[in-house]
């Protein structure tokens, strides 16, 4: 009985495996296409970023206001992007994004050390150039370009990656 079935419905395993392999190859080529599209999208995004103009200038505060408090929070370039402008001991004014480059906790200003401190994992950044002084942050803080216009401090751009 069993042999009869085999005779009536012969299975060519080689042919069967061949079809499976061919189908799998098709699927892998499709996956390869997906990855290529993904990579090209990232590259296109990078182009857009590079050619994109700086966001519109935003008024931060006056120099007098900054002198009295030593620091001030503002939002730039969007209303959801917290930034901080500080006056260093040297008198220099600098502004950075408040987002820690580790896991985005807001950094705190420590005037006596001229540095920003991130309480989440003990990270610290120099206020001079935003570079990492300690802790897990992998990159410096993003710097905001300032323009002082007759006693008024304006945020005019974001410094591109260093």
């Amino acid at each position: 009985m069993h042999d009869k079935v085999k005779e009536d419905f012969p299975i060519d395993w080689e042919a069967d495996q061949y079809v499976c392999r061919r189908e799998f190859l098709k699927f892998m080529t499709l996956a390869s296409g997906g990855l290529a599209v993904g990579s090209v999208s990232i590259a296109a995004l990078s182009r857009l970023r590079r050619s994109g103009a700086q966001p519109a200038a935003v008024f931060v505060c006056t120099s007098d206001e900054l002198r009295t408090t030593g620091w001030r929070e503002f939002f730039y370039p969007g209303t959801e992007d917290p930034c901080i402008v500080v006056q260093l001991k040297s008198g220099k004014v600098a502004a950075y994004s408040r987002r820690c480059t580790h896991l985005s906790c807001p950094v705190l200003w420590q005037a006596k050390n001229d540095r920003f401190y991130c309480p989440c994992h003990n990270g610290a950044f120099s206020a001079e150039d935003g570079s990492v002084l300690q802790g897990p942050p992998p990159r410096p803080l993003t710097r905001v370009i300032l323009d002082i216009r007759g006693g008024e401090i304006w945020a005019v751009g974001i410094e591109s990656e260093r």
Binding site: R22, M28, S32, G33, G38, A43
Partner: protein, 73 residues
């Protein structure tokens, strides 16, 4: 005929292996450039996209090779 099929199957298996290696390489490129992009570094994006498209081209060429093989007697 059976012998011919066995040969074809082996050739497809070899192509599949090669295709797989390229796919792993492509994944590595994609993840690398994505990680860098999320970190704000887009320097690797363009070369890796070019390499990825090249690999896709090779993979398509391999697949077409299999179709060509099928048309053969």
């Amino acid at each position: 005929m059976k012998e011919r099929n066995r040969q074809k199957s082996q050739v497809v298996a070899a192509m599949q292996l090669f295709n797989f290696i390229l796919l792993v390489l492509q994944m590595w490129l994609f993840v690398g450039s994505l990680e860098n992009a999320l970190r704000g570094d887009f320097g690797m994006a363009l070369p890796s996209a070019a390499a990825s498209v090249l690999i896709l081209g090779v993979n398509i060429w391999i697949l077409l090779g299999v179709f060509r093989l099928e048309r053969e007697p």
